[in-house]
Amino acid sequence: MIFEGLMETDVENLYQTLNREAEAGGYHLNPDIEFTKNLVRGLMKNERRYGYRSCPCRLASGKRAEDLDIICPCDYRDPDIAEYGACYCSLYVNNLIRAGEHLLFPVPERRPPRSQRSLKTVMATPGPILPFPVWRCKVCGYLCARDQPPDVCPICKATKDRFERFM
């Protein structure tokens, strides 16, 4: 791994922030602190070189619109935790892995390969006429009915551009 110019106090601060936010939202960081801090360093490096915290274990394009799905927490975290007990890079794990009762195994890549990715968002099929559109956070599934999605998801802190029109 190559991490240059990162301040250890900044690494510690981001680790503490992510840990606090994870616990507040019912998520858990990987209990292997050294491994996890390296992932935090990866997020910081990606933020510095790309402008956003893309997954340290995936190759980012450097174009935010193409990488939205892999900005941490990624769109695949929750299904991966449900199926494998951890997200793809293993920054987030379930209770059993955190408690050391289950072992952590490599999580297969759920993101479609390059050739099958598409920027098109699937619009919901026409439904009932509603007084407000319903927006869905692609990271955690939070729904809200209002003219625009919130700037930041109140549950998982994902940014506004991670929301899709749900109804």
Binding site: I2, R41, G42, L43, P56, L59, E109
Partner: protein
């Protein structure tokens, strides 16, 4: 340092495609180091433009998902992810 040749016992051509930020890539690299074999590793995220595209074409030939780490052994076999037992078996250690 975009990549490096690590000296050691020759068991054929062993190439690790990795990311400079990835914890599982790092674990795989450390495992290869402890086996004492000779291998090459390439940090694909540190390549640019055509060089990165070419490296991704190779990775995807072995691993259609284009994920990391991808270990290619003797241009014959690939192992995706930090799979210690499989890696040890594949390099005969």
């Amino acid at each position: 340092m975009i990549g490096e040749h690590v000296n050691g016992k020759n068991v054929g051509k062993v190439v690790l495609y990795a990311l400079s930020t990835c914890g599982w890539c790092e674990k795989t690299k450390q495992l290869l180091r402890t086996t004492g074999i000779a291998f090459d590793f390439i940090y694909v995220d540190l390549l640019e433009g055509v060089e990165q595209d070419d490296a991704m074409d190779i990775v995807e030939r072995w691993n259609p998902h284009g994920s990391f780490p991808t270990l290619v052994i003797n241009d014959r076999k690939s192992i995706v992810g930090f799979r210690e037992k499989e890696i040890r078996e594949a390099i005969g250690l």
